[in-house]
Subunit: 363 residues, 2 copies
Amino acid sequence: MNTVTVDLGARSYPIHIKPGILNQIAPIIQGFSDSREVALITDETVSKLYGQSVLDHLSAAGYTTFLFTVPAGEDSKSYQYLEKLHTKMLKAGLKRDSLVIALGGGVVGDLAGFVAATYLRGIGFIQIPTTLLAQVDSSVGGKTGINHILGKNLIGAFHQPLGVLIDPDALKTLSVRDMWGGLGEVLKYGLIRDVEFFETIEQNLESLFSLSDMDQVSSMLAMCCQIKADVVSADEKEGGLRRILNFGHTLCHALEAVTGYDYFRHGEAVVYGLDWAAWVSMRFDLLDSNQYERIHKLIGRFELPPLPENLEADQLQAKMALDKKQTAAGLNLVLLDAIGSTVIQTVQDATDEIKGWLNELRK
Amino acid sequence: MNTVTVDLGARSYPIHIKPGILNQIAPIIQGFSDSREVALITDETVSKLYGQSVLDHLSAAGYTTFLFTVPAGEDSKSYQYLEKLHTKMLKAGLKRDSLVIALGGGVVGDLAGFVAATYLRGIGFIQIPTTLLAQVDSSVGGKTGINHILGKNLIGAFHQPLGVLIDPDALKTLSVRDMWGGLGEVLKYGLIRDVEFFETIEQNLESLFSLSDMDQVSSMLAMCCQIKADVVSADEKEGGLRRILNFGHTLCHALEAVTGYDYFRHGEAVVYGLDWAAWVSMRFDLLDSNQYERIHKLIGRFELPPLPENLEADQLQAKMALDKKQTAAGLNLVLLDAIGSTVIQTVQDATDEIKGWLNELRK
């Protein structure tokens, strides 16, 4: 078993990574909490795959369990489902010492985490992420929340889990698109923090995609979690260092917004965002053009939907101006000065940088 | 100016108490945050009394201000107003470095605090409590939240303010009932922590009620805040010591629930709750009967609505069983072993203790 620790003083917690851990969770959870009452929150897709076996396993270990299932997809990250889940938990009699387990992808983790953060002013919760994106990103770091009609993830709280349990075997049921998208977030970690990890991905991208070597996959997951844990430990609430995790996400969020959140998977938009941020880094003379070309070539090996033809730089800039990382001073862009090393620059307007990049890609 | 510090490490904050502070807040707020954008959240009653003058004062000091007013009363502590306020703040363009100021009583403080706790995953906020109950209790300690249809304060978060600014002059516009109710919470502090403070209240109850000596009132507010700050500093999230602040609140919440939340003011129900908890302490042979009689006599000087005649012990017990402090082990009752000193006892059922007390009162 690979174990990574998120070091946050009294609220430190472990991330355990092990193929097959999904049906071995009871003894681990007992180490996190004395609670014997568990609300298992999942979505309809994941429930069909793993819901019953996890429930059976917990019941056999003496837990009183309640299964709460929300529809799969982003629309469940809403005020409506927040209230619905609170109501179901109250009716089930769940108390301050009860536990929430989030079993699923990023939507389930964000929603269930926010439910736990706000139920009786906060109860303990455990993340069991089942998608690559959730395993390497959203399940670690304590960001929880829902969407607002005016934008994604605008409402939420920092609420650290008691632990994160990652089963690499769960990736075997993932779609091709979700796997490529997840690998986009994996690549981000190499780009922002670790040139050796970047090289590992460069050498093994296709075998990582095909899950042909589960030890290799487990190491990749542990590496991503280690980088995220280090960053979150140093800066829990995004005052400084944690902002580097947004590398690639400024354009990504704008791309998702202008395409109505239904054209790209999140991770796919991240990959385009990585390329843009690397390109801007080169254009600002921060990153050597050879290094950009190397990144761009690796990104070219990802299977992605093409950029929509009617994409306009102005539209994307307008969405960026609504980004919640925007402050009175402007938009903080995370850029690279080398593969594995970031710098932050504040820009008032990125329209020219978007236009230039789109023109390059369309050549 | 009296200043009390809530000691929570990096999240420590001051409580400033000073007659007239309401129109001197700008320089103090500048010490809390560099932000120049403020959302002032208040209710219709308080807005009419102080809203415009606080806005004018902040504008004159160079702040960009937005006034958001909710209807007065408990019904505003709802999912609906949470979402409405988020929407207004997003439309106003308020950012991560913007500030929320809660100006009003407990409802406004709890709602505005929870809005701040969940807006863009949490932004800074300042409490300016204008009722006695809010000045001595709800504005200090970081409890924020809304009501659920199944019970009060069931949804929320711990989110500590950047500071609390208390203007004793604001009490001059309070109703007689809110003043007596607030003095109930004041009395609680003497009972749980400080026999000398209890004696001060015993000697000066009527002059405190009539606000005839503002220095005396300021000292009383500072004493309450100091006790609450000490308790919260030792136990931010109610794992242990903080539970003593619930003294009197178990029966109080049940009384409020069975009377539909419209018969008692919260503080009035607290006073009955104090008497019950002291009586149970005596019945359990924890508290000397002379000490109970002394407490009961002081409570007799409070002007309170009578207990409804049809009150049933069974009903009250049923509501207590839903209390969010209930754990799998039972209901933790905070009791006294002397004036100024608490003990906690777990009971499975308090029906007999409610019945006995009701019979005593009805003699």
